[in-house]
Symmetry: C2
Subunit: 205 residues, 2 copies
């Protein structure tokens, strides 16, 4: 295992993961949501799609062992290991400049959508014009009456982790969510760092 890379609180990180490669995402402090995307390394217009993944799994959110699909209905990732025990969120958009504006912050508050663009730019990729809906690791969106949703503090604990295995050559993007308004990143509303560790670089498609 290569030394884990720390993703500082409120920032993003992009990493290439070839087919067969595996990457572990570690919720170091336990309460941090990590917005997660994947793009095809060959064509950034193919991306990990929550609306396709729900359709293919017949689930609102993935759990350990589930395959995750692209917007072209191709198998993209496997959620190979997962200590969460509850599904991760697929329903809620990544935070963006507009939500912080609505909450009354001055311009410049970090957001997952900005982190997505900046992390891709750092590896020389122009982000798609529209930011796909991410897989929100550990985001706690309780569903009730099979129709209502809520936002709540994560149920995860320090050291909880997931491992993705790539089924195609991908670029993965992670954002340690900067939300500090509601309790989505913990009851104290303090965004924290997380870590990613490349377990296996993969051999490529």
């Amino acid at each position: 295992m290569i030394e884990p890379h720390i993703i500082p609180a409120r920032t993003g990180h992009a990493v290439a993961l070839a087919a067969g490669g595996r990457i572990k995402v570690i919720n170091t402090h336990g309460s941090q949501v990590v917005d997660t995307w994947a793009l095809s390394a060959d064509d950034a217009s193919e991306y990990l799609s929550m609306e396709q993944t729900r359709r293919m799994l017949f689930k609102l959110g993935p759990e350990r062992g589930d395959t995750l699909y692209s917007n072209r209905r191709n198998e993209m990732l496997v959620l190979e290991d997962d200590t969460a025990g509850v599904p991760h969120d697929t329903l809620i958009a990544a935070c963006d400049e507009w939500v912080y504006e609505k909450y009354g912050f001055p311009p410049g508050h970090a957001s997952c959508q900005d982190n997505f663009r900046k992390a891709l730019a750092a590896v020389g990729i122009v982000a798609p014009a529209t930011v796909p809906n991410p897989l929100n690791l550990w985001m706690n969106v309780p569903v009730s009456d099979n129709s209502r949703i809520a936002l709540a503090a994560p149920l995860s604990r320090p050291g909880d982790h997931v491992t993705f295995r790539a089924l195609m050559d991908t670029v993965m993007v992670f954002s340690a969510c900067p939300a500090d308004v509601l309790n989505v990143n913990g009851e104290d509303c303090i965004p924290r760092d997380v870590a990613v560790a490349l377990l296996d670089e993969g051999e490529g498609a």
Copy 2:
């Protein structure tokens, strides 16, 4: 009311709807799903967003009286009237060329994503590179155990209708879903025509 416009089975239709305008969508035969999008008339990168609408409503799908939001978290439409009595689907992607390929059809099967692009092209608008997740009117996606979903035949009846009121200047796009594989458009798997009627053109923003 202006004469309703018939949207033939398997095709799409785009129509400008200024702020204050109202449009009625009629499920003529009762079993037809209508994939529905809205774009800002001023900037096609602002679009009706299911992931924002769920977040703002704290619901999996909208019902009569609900406001629908854009990806910039602006109020875009009101679902002013709705005979359905059950929420419409926001969870499932529009059908596309790839799903029909997976089902073994030769290239050229109509799809909602193609209908979206073609309908916009017909009114001189270049579609966003990524097709947003539509509001799937009358699509029956039962949720169970607050976690699982299924695809089922619509519960709607002939003449069921919804009315949208625009809260900004929009271009709306409707696709009479061409799916003929599963029972999403009725137990007989036959896509059918629907109608839209402009009730009020609006005065604009």
